[in-house]
């Protein structure tokens, strides 16, 4: 990785570059670019409600392992709701309800007897607004999930904190300030802290809900770089309403749209370069060419 914050790291590619230019160091586990992708997460006929209001309807899509999958679409199309269905966070919202299956490694996360806390340890989440715990130091923030898993070994916690902060490209900036409160960091640093916190519990999948929408352009680029790097080890699903961002970071893109009934549906789900250069659905084309949304 480049030294974080150095001009070279930022100037490497233009923000307007529409292709995912950064390729992964190792494209997949066996290092073979042509090998078929393993499916990390299968969303199987998922519908979600807020009370009686249907928010997303009957969505089915496969998320490739060790890749970045983007969910795009105009506001209110249900992309965040769908994302929150992928780690059982939707049911935490008042009156939130889900039907359908989400298969993680052959197991339905909504299956009878499944523990939602265990699901969320395996499928982590990063939110729109950076939300470090205000009473905890940088170190404690990263270690928070480990404490929830009842890991108490001091040396193991220290190792995992360091590795996670390194993986989140934040270590060099905070290694001397680990005892400082997490909320003393800048917005971009806070978001990378939240990413470090999410990956410290070593999830298989990391869901990111518009992770850059509260960040300035430079911080956004850093987080985008990070997503590509993290995709080597983790499976990333990102919600964004920034199409350039989807084009820059993702391998596959799902376009969602709320139709007549006001509930979101999946319109098109294809490799990112295809969806942006040659959309098969008229509505996708209208959206990516900026005709609405």
């Amino acid at each position: 990785m480049n030294e974080p914050g150095s001009p070279a790291a930022i100037g490497e590619r233009s923000p307007m570059d529409l292709r995912p230019t950064q390729t992964m160091a190792t494209p997949n586990a066996n290092g073979d670019d042509k090998a078929p992708k393993r499916i990390a997460l299968r969303v199987d006929h998922i519908s979600a409600w807020y009370g009686n209001k249907l928010a997303v309807s009957d969505i089915t899509l496969d998320v490739d392992a060790h890749s970045v999958t983007a969910l795009i679409g105009p506001s209110g199309c249900g992309k965040s709701t769908l994302l929150r269905c992928m780690n059982r966070m939707h049911e935490v919202t008042p009156r939130g309800r889900v039907e359908g299956k989400v298969i993680l490694e052959g197991e339905d996360i909504y299956g009878a007897g499944t523990d939602p806390t265990r699901v969320r340890q395996r499928i982590g989440m990063v939110f729109q607004k950076p939300n470090p715990f205000p009473t905890m130091s940088i170190e404690e923030n990263v270690a928070a999930g480990l404490r929830f898993m009842s890991i108490t070994s001091k040396s193991e916690i220290a190792d995992r904190v360091e590795n996670s902060l390194k993986a989140a490209a934040l270590w060099d900036e905070v290694k001397n300030d680990l005892k400082k409160p997490g909320i003393a960091l800048s917005g971009g640093q806070q978001q990378r802290l939240c990413i470090a916190r999410a990956i410290a519990v070593e999830p298989e999948v990391v869901l990111m809900d518009e992770p850059c929408s509260a960040l300035d352009p430079l911080a956004t680029l850093k987080v985008e770089d990070l997503m590509r790097t993290l995709a080597v080890k983790y499976t990333i699903v990102i919600v964004t309403h920034n199409m350039q961002q989807a084009a820059r970071v993702s391998d596959r893109t799902a376009f969602m749209l709320a139709g007549e009934g006001g509930f979101g549906q999946l319109i098109e789900y294809r490799p990112t370069d295809e969806i942006f250069t040659n959309p098969s659905d008229k509505r996708t084309e209208d959206y990516i060419t900026g005709r609405f949304g």
């Binding site: 928070a144 929830f148 409160p181």
Partner: protein
């Protein structure tokens, strides 16, 4: 309103309208300012009054000596100060854990019918006259044991403290942003762990503030103690016997026949007012740190 003439924005008509609005504005501002001043005037008068009457009898011996036999000037109210401290301390030890747990329930698990009912009952208890609470503890604890005790007094004070602290705790927990709870859930924390490690610590300054306010309220209560701890002119730290307290001693001295009693009653009032003032300042300081943490 103005007609087609657009030469000036300020026609005679609009100018008189503006003048009328300005006058109304000033008059209303003055009325509301006067009401605000009137509202805090009693505080200024009380502090002034208590200070002028109480400062004379305030001395080291008042704090370090116990009361003289009735009628012999001098002596102090050490027994009352220590008694108040013991009962307020015990009331907090009994009441705070119950109140905070109750507040956690109302905020985290009480967004349903049961919570609504409980919340209403807590509010009713908060409005209960303190003398009624004293009578209740009298019949429940004092009568069966045939003995006035410090514990009974502390229980009465705890009953007053619990609804106040419970509701403040609930309010403070509800102020903790949803995003922090979700951050903890997303890390695989079960609900109780989220509450213990994230929500409660974040709301702690506010909860401590509420607790301090409740403390200063119960420290000044006389009514619930009259039937429970009774009062005791001798020094005692025994929780199982009658004990003195500042408010009850003020009550006895102020309604008694001796001038030095009246002076000492004023001096004790000054002590209580001073205590409340100090608590308020601490609360302000705490609230201040909370604001800086948020930024």
């Amino acid at each position: 309103m103005t007609t087609a003439s657009t030469e000036s924005l300020f026609t005679p008509a609009t100018e008189s309208l503006f003048r009328r609005r300005r006058t109304t504005d000033r008059v209303m501002t003055i009325i509301m300012l006067s009401a605000a001043v009137l509202a805090v005037t009693p505080l200024v008068l009380i502090v002034f009054h208590v200070l002028t009457h109480g400062i004379g009898a305030l001395s080291l011996s008042l704090l370090t000596e116990d009361p003289n036999p009735a009628g012999r000037p001098g002596g102090g109210v050490r027994n009352s100060i220590v008694g108040s401290a013991i009962m307020v301390g015990m009331a907090t030890a009994i009441g705070a854990p119950i109140a905070i747990a109750c507040g956690v329930f109302l905020s985290e698990y009480g967004q349903n019918r049961l919570g609504t009912v409980l919340r209403f009952l807590v509010d009713v208890l908060a409005g209960m006259p303190s003398i009624t609470i004293g009578l209740f503890i009298y019949s429940l604890v004092v009568l069966p044991n045939k003995k006035f005790t410090a514990i009974a007094g502390a229980m009465a004070l705890a009953v007053i403290l619990i609804p106040v602290v419970a509701r403040i705790t609930e309010e403070m927990l509800l102020l903790v942003p949803r995003s922090l709870r979700e951050a903890a859930f997303a890390l695989g924390a079960p609900r109780w762990r989220t509450v213990m490690t994230v929500v409660l610590p974040t709301a702690l300054p506010g909860i401590v503030t509420g607790l301090m306010l409740a403390l200063s309220r119960i420290a000044g209560e006389a009514a619930p103690l009259l039937f429970t701890s009774l009062g005791n002119q001798f020094f005692s730290t025994d929780p199982f016997s009658a004990i003195d307290a500042l408010p009850t001693r003020i009550y006895f001295y102020a309604s008694g026949p001796f001038d030095y009693w009246h002076e000492q009653a004023w001096a004790m009032s000054l002590l209580l007012v001073g205590f409340i003032l100090v608590v308020s300042l601490i609360v302000r300081a705490l609230a201040g740190t909370k604001v800086t943490v948020r930024q």
